[in-house]
């Protein structure tokens, strides 16, 4: 039973790793690099709530 668990763990890990590697390559080939790298640091929209509470 333990032997099956060992091989099962290796098998699942290998399958998941292969899937991730294949998907990474597919995405890299399908989409333009400018688009994939177009993310920018976020901004917040509800900051005045805490500031008002702190000053009151």
């Amino acid at each position: 039973m333990v032997e099956i668990m060992n091989w099962g763990a290796w098998g699942i890990a290998a399958a998941l790793a292969l899937w991730m590697g294949a998907d990474l390559l597919r995405v890299n080939r399908t989409y333009g690099e400018d688009y994939l790298l177009s993310s920018e640091e976020g901004e917040i929209i509800d900051a005045e709530t805490g500031e008002t509470a702190a000053r009151s």
Binding site: M1, V2, E3, M5, N6, W7, A9, W10, I12, A13, L16, A17, W19, M20, G21, D23, L24, V27, T30, Y31, G32, E33, D34, Y35, L36, L37, S38, S39, E40, E41, G42, E43, I44, I45, D46, A47, E48, T49, G50, E51, A54, R55
Partner: protein, 483 residues
Amino acid sequence: MSKGQTIGSTAILPGAAAEAPPEVAATPGKRIALLRVLGPGHVWALGVGIVLVGEYMGWNFAVGKGGPVAALTACWLAGILYTCVAMIDSEITSTVAAAGGQYAQAKHIIGPLAAFNVGLYLVMAYTMLEVSNAIVTGDLIEAFLANHGIPGSVDKRAFMVLTIVALAFLNYRGVLASLTLNLLITAAAFVAIVVLFLATQPWAPGAVLQHQSLFVELPYGSLGILAAMHFGLWFYLGIEGTTQAAEEVRSPARALPLGTMTGMMTLLIAATATWYVCSGLMPWEYLGQAVTPLYDAGRLTGNPYLEVFLFFGTLFATVASANGCINDASRAWFAMGRDRYMPAWFGAVHPTYRTPYRSIVFFVPIAILFAISTPLDQTITFSILSGLLGYTLMALSIILFRRKWPLGTIARGYVHPMHPLPCALLLILCIVTYVAVFLGYGTQLVAMMTFYITASAWFVLHRYKYVRRGDQFTMHWPRPKGY
């Protein structure tokens, strides 16, 4: 940006990119961002999930260093240190709501070199913690099967690799599923501690808990308290990881302070309850070197259901910690790639899952390599030291933040009280912990400082020329006071 967000000239609704055909999604002018889907519960699960494993194992080495009283003192002193960290973190991150957490904070407030170092501290701390958790998962499965008399030899490497790859896969596929899993298993692990605490009947001293007969004061004198500080950090190490979710929460100004503060309260309760139960069930000489003290405490109650519950609590806490660490290390690396502090290639977002997929995959082989080749105590020490360096810079951050942008000059989601007391306490406790670490692991401390100084020289002399110097400062803040 709760329902959708406008990025550049394009409105991107959650899930919209998943449906867009590639030729549309890749049209020039279209932009992409991490998905804002998380709430305060997920932030709590991220912070507590990373840390709670420290209640299940590791903290008890503080007992070995100085006895139970020293461990409790270290637990509360470290609690003060981390409360200061959580307060400072909450104020800055509710304003600098960016992936990378403390890295982004340092970039905006101190400068590029500090940001580079903080980014490295974060990546090292979380990756080494992930590796430690993977090692422990393998050990736990082996111990559980052996305790239940199941014949056969467990291949621990298979379960270490499976833990790392499966959690990376989950993170790759989306932050919501990943942190919802963390919420469930972290809550279960916390409930296991509460159930154990109640099962030991703390209202009836002597019935189960034997503090009177097991208790000793300070076997190594007051120096034991100093020595215990090193492992006292283990009760809370990683709670600052909540800030890495800043670009993926629906309302950063509300969710980050709320999730971080409630997380800190949860940990203070769990840490004290853990110490109380374990020190009342085991002699300090055993407790000080136990591998899984809470699981052992469950076994010592003689209740088989409690034993199984505590085993799963330990396993869940370990998996939750590894899961949170993969999330945080990848966000920090992604943020550094986006600013060109590291190769820009790592700053990519997956068009369907909206995760930093290249950064997530990048750390899989590195974590596996460390897990199968490095002893547990070294990965833990590397993680603690990297965290400690980050906390020290955090104290500097808040002083500069309040000086450059006093209250009222920029919008803050949370303002921490009693400034500069938390900052002063944080600095003092960091210095005390450096001394403690130097006493126990002086060589590793010096080796790590050498590594970070060498990396800094590489950044200044080589890497910084690739950084987009103006573009990296994205906050719409007024010019800092005095500049």
